[in-house]
Homo-oligomer: 814 residues x 2
Amino acid sequence: MTHKSETSYGYFDDDNKEFVITSPYTPLPWINYLGNDGFYGLISNTAGGYCFYKDAKFRRLTRYRYNNVPMDSGGRYFYINDGGVIWNPGGRPSETQLDFYQCRHGLGYSKFIARKNQLQAELTVTIPLQMNAEVYKLKLTNTSKQHKRIGLFSFIEWCLWNAQTDGENFQRNLSTGEVEIDGNFLFHKTEYRERRNHYAFFTCNKDIDGFDTDRDAFIGMYNGFERPQAVDKNQSSNSVAHGWSPIASHHHKLDLAPGHSEEIVFMLGYCELEQTNKWQALNQINQSPARDLFTHVDTSQKFDHQCKRLRSYWQACLSICQVETPDVKFNRSVNIWNQYQNMVTFNMSRSASYYESGIGRGMGFRDSHQDTIGFTHIAPTAVRQRLLDLSATQKQDGSAYHQYQPLTKKGNADIGGNFNDDPMWMILGTANYIKETGDWSILDEAIPFDDNSQAESHFEHLRRAFYHIANKLGPHGLPLIGRADWNDCLNLNCYSNDPNESFQTTEHKQDSVAESLMIAGQFVLYGQEFVRLCEQLDKLQEAKIAQAHIDNMVKAVEDHGWDGQWFLRAYDANGNAIGSHKNEEGQIFIESQGFCVMAGIGIENGKAQSALDSVEKHLACDFGIVLQQPAFSRYHIELGEISSYPPGYKENAGIFCHNNPWICISETMLGRADKAMAYYQRINPIYLQDLQQTHKTEPYVYSQMIAGKDAATPGQAKNSWLTGTAAWSYYAAVQYILGVRPDYHGLIIAPCIPNEWAGFSVKRKFRQAEYHIRVHNHATDKRGLYVDGQFVEGQQIEYTKYQQTHKVDYYKSA
Amino acid sequence: MTHKSETSYGYFDDDNKEFVITSPYTPLPWINYLGNDGFYGLISNTAGGYCFYKDAKFRRLTRYRYNNVPMDSGGRYFYINDGGVIWNPGGRPSETQLDFYQCRHGLGYSKFIARKNQLQAELTVTIPLQMNAEVYKLKLTNTSKQHKRIGLFSFIEWCLWNAQTDGENFQRNLSTGEVEIDGNFLFHKTEYRERRNHYAFFTCNKDIDGFDTDRDAFIGMYNGFERPQAVDKNQSSNSVAHGWSPIASHHHKLDLAPGHSEEIVFMLGYCELEQTNKWQALNQINQSPARDLFTHVDTSQKFDHQCKRLRSYWQACLSICQVETPDVKFNRSVNIWNQYQNMVTFNMSRSASYYESGIGRGMGFRDSHQDTIGFTHIAPTAVRQRLLDLSATQKQDGSAYHQYQPLTKKGNADIGGNFNDDPMWMILGTANYIKETGDWSILDEAIPFDDNSQAESHFEHLRRAFYHIANKLGPHGLPLIGRADWNDCLNLNCYSNDPNESFQTTEHKQDSVAESLMIAGQFVLYGQEFVRLCEQLDKLQEAKIAQAHIDNMVKAVEDHGWDGQWFLRAYDANGNAIGSHKNEEGQIFIESQGFCVMAGIGIENGKAQSALDSVEKHLACDFGIVLQQPAFSRYHIELGEISSYPPGYKENAGIFCHNNPWICISETMLGRADKAMAYYQRINPIYLQDLQQTHKTEPYVYSQMIAGKDAATPGQAKNSWLTGTAAWSYYAAVQYILGVRPDYHGLIIAPCIPNEWAGFSVKRKFRQAEYHIRVHNHATDKRGLYVDGQFVEGQQIEYTKYQQTHKVDYYKSA
């Protein structure tokens, strides 16, 4: 069944799991990600973007200019000169209006189909599995009645490896660029002679008629990307770059008879070499690894085979959990795009998107943990490694580096630590991993601390995370906030009045008493999980002591964290309540409502319901739930960055989507299914196709932020792709709305679905078995769980009992 | 007398002290600097570039994209839509071919004269004296017989103040932009609500017909600078920026009758406000300072008056030293462009040019000191302050921060210190200042250390600088090099094999024995100056002890620093000689030859001559003197960054112009005038007009580097404007070739001029007097010095004897 949902700029092709973009001129560049094994590319709907190896800052392969004029300048460009008419299969950067244009963003690949003057181009771009290369297949077909002589020019611009210095240190950089050329192989070897053990190359499988490696020779100093002078002249100049800006461009002169086609495969590859194996002669690089790599795709058949492998891979990934509900958009999101985005957030954290420049930061500690909850079922092995890598950036005292660089896996000293929520996320990630896999061995892994190479068990790391909070309480018995909790911009200890200071890294007040209700809820929620882990490990005394800390925390929240209608957000450095009706601005915040209710606080005494009703009343708006109200109209030095944004944007009463699923989950805990679903849908881009001109970002992925009701541009989204929203929304949808939730001993079925649904089904591979689950809403005859027709007590399918494919039915009343 | 020296891209107009560029498409953008009181602009020959207040990193006003495609994108653009034909007075970014184009870079201003379809535009851009604003006067004249209706659009793009985060932190930046609009005044107030006490504005003196403040509204997401959509439509959209990219653009609809003109004055200004005075109403900025500022130029007459003031200012500056020699290029360089460049290097150090992005570094310690030697005679008060500012970044132990940020005047901790040549430059700067001014009080100023607020006299700072070397000697009694000496790229203690490390900032080996012959020479040269200072202050014991250290150093150089034909360069961390004929590569270096000879070492025993002969034999080439030979063909981990450049570029055997004048001065010390002059001319761009296509950089200013004989592109210059070459070349030309040299007690006349010169004259204001000096070469009758016709013993005009204008004659044999 194909769903082609038309929007003004494109539609979903669910059969092919593609989003089809029908204009090069989308409201913002709409991008896709390529690769998921360490080599990555970002590619826009006009083939803009760049690629890198592992680390977007330290190992950038191609150059990209953010926030440029025109927007989205630079990428993998193929220029066609057809009788003086110059165009690109991606629709840009050439300004020629095409007769037909389509960009199909699929899972790990993008495809461009374009036509001009009866010449058809089909360009497929992908990163094959386990390959350190972007590969391109370009097919040109002469659909006219005339013979065509075509000039074809490939083009990429090399980044000088370190993306940050590449854009800063020109007095050095403009003298360092080096290339080597051998036939079709155009090598980039800047700094290879000295400290680098890697080079890049651009090659193709058809003999070239010329090349360029010097940007000014190819483009011309004063031309733009839209009309390079070599393309204009229809002639390469065989330039050899010495410094300035090395590029790689192949020139093919193609003769196309009427009806005939030509296919060429290109590869932009990356090779690392052993020190002893770097050279084949004096200052001549060892080309073998590059030539070997290219043999995997050097024919169209091989290229197609790699595409097929990738498609099978994704088929397998997505087959682990497939749902069929009455809501086609829900299905599309949960079955395809949300899971795909989860892969991207897992791989990138917040490092490289069209809004994250890839040079500002590495992988976030809290982000990376949260991102695993949407991806563990797909890639448990990768998640296991990630959790242990993160564990190794924890310090002995239980605290953690806030970020680390993926290339070195070392904590980022520039950013530092003391974001006090960070360590508790380790428990979420690890518990979620064990529930999915049953792999308890992860707790026994011996892992060093960042500040002590003496390894301790991963369990011990979690224990220290727990006590890092338990032992750091403020005057109300609530957790000290440190630099900040989940809300990086609520800086209660910064007191910055110098605009050259970063709120994130500037030295904060020491010995401050500022406390966080968000961490309090988080501590209770994941502390309970820690207790469960202890119990499973038969560490009953440990569990008991921990539980006592948790009980105290619940009491502290009840006694000191309740404002009358909702949970407070914090106490500031002077001990004043934040997120209270007594405040002038910022009277109610979303985070503490979400985390306290998810932790179960106040569910029995009505506080939870009152808190969520207050969220609905004060924070919910047409485009989602805003972070707090009223928005800050002035700077509050005691609150920091949150009050630095214009009202309605980002943390200052924007819809910071990441936290919306917390409320969605909280609503399911109260059994309020319709509210939960309404919140789920409100920020899900797949439901927003009528708002595209307002929303602006890609309709197939979540954005970090949607402008709130106080903004000048309410409903306008920003910072798409890299957001905790992806994992949390998926987690909320599958584990709490559908209620299909892994636990230590089996799969729990506890749906909380809209009244209007008659039911839904889920195919779920879980541990050794596959379950075909059917949930029947408004059930009249039966109640409860049946596996293969047999009634099962409770809501859990115990995994030890099942090894095959099993039919599961769950009957519930409305 | 007008000298119009034609080159292919322009010519010198000496009468107007302008360089006239006749094509918008120069080999590289050819720029000018505006401002010299703290507010600065860089402006290319097509009006590209940006402006900033004091600090190019922390207080950038307009956005500029380095290394862009096309090169030089972004600036102050005025778009003219004349019946659908769109063009700019600067010739770009519009691609329309003009009927006439001229850019006149003058002293502190640039002027663009252009014509298309009988519409003439004359745009003058300047920063008036003591004003925090760029101002523009645009005159449009209809030279046709038809009435013209013109659409005029101004355009600048705001930088969000911090130029570094502006290009990195988009997930924040794209939500923060804020503007305020009131009539013609378009205010940029991003972050003003919170921590900033400054805003910028763009205004004009003629009522506008529309405006834009949102970049996408004005340019269009997918348009380039060459054709903004508002200009294309000939209609502004009155857009109000909320986040994204705020700009400022005025729209004027002009009716021009045949023969009629219209003049409009624009101002791009910057205001700082007191905390208590920031607002005129809730969230409405206090506009008064901006409106007050504009009153200074809000008519054409006032604008012209400011231009006149600036011209008078420069007339006065240059009148302090004017020369008349038989060599017109020498005169042009010394009288105009070299002095002008000295002003720029003094103000910028190495912080902001078209090669220095303004975000990588602040003001260099050693650079800033050296830059004063070309500027002290023009601006002694500013130099005094700079010397004391630098002194305050010295540490108690005599070492110094390598750089400081001009906005804060604090040492840059990111870069750190331990470049062991740094402190000795303090003595050069201070001695040179006292010789020019006779102001001994500078030595008594109480200045704190960077690591101790307890102030000590500036003399004590110099003393610690001296002993910082004297007490840090290696096994040969030569100075330890630390991180590096003047050659930042000779990293003897770094041993880096990680490409992600900076050679400059990576932790270096402690307790290394690596020694520098360059510092040895520097220590002797400026140590002798320190001794002279002590003697003048009657600190005879201090002088005697210091002299003993110097004598020891001379002996150490003679004993351990001589390779047989030239001076060694260094001993590495293993005690091996560097810059020796025994080395495989890098056998002879320029720096130690220059500094040892300038220090007088080996002049009496022939070593100096042998060293200079070796320089000529091994290092001199057609385009200048290369840094060392043979070039490094491979990476030498024990030498560091110097061996990381491709051969012939930068420190790896490039012509690193800064050190060429050291050889020139050294040659004058041996009396070899013709050799000195040949070296002087070889790197001076004013002599290179026939090489413009090879040389590429501006023909009116020095570049940091010219590719050497080993390079793929010998003779190609890079990194123009910000180079120690400017001050040193001027110093060499005036003080050593012409030999007109200030000293503590008067002006020394000691020329070393080419044999072919019959003589020359110099007008020199010095302390209380003005001297009209005439040097007679090949004198037959007379010998020596005559003041007002009276014979004077020796070569010095004692300043205490003269208060008026005096005629000086100096007679020398060939």
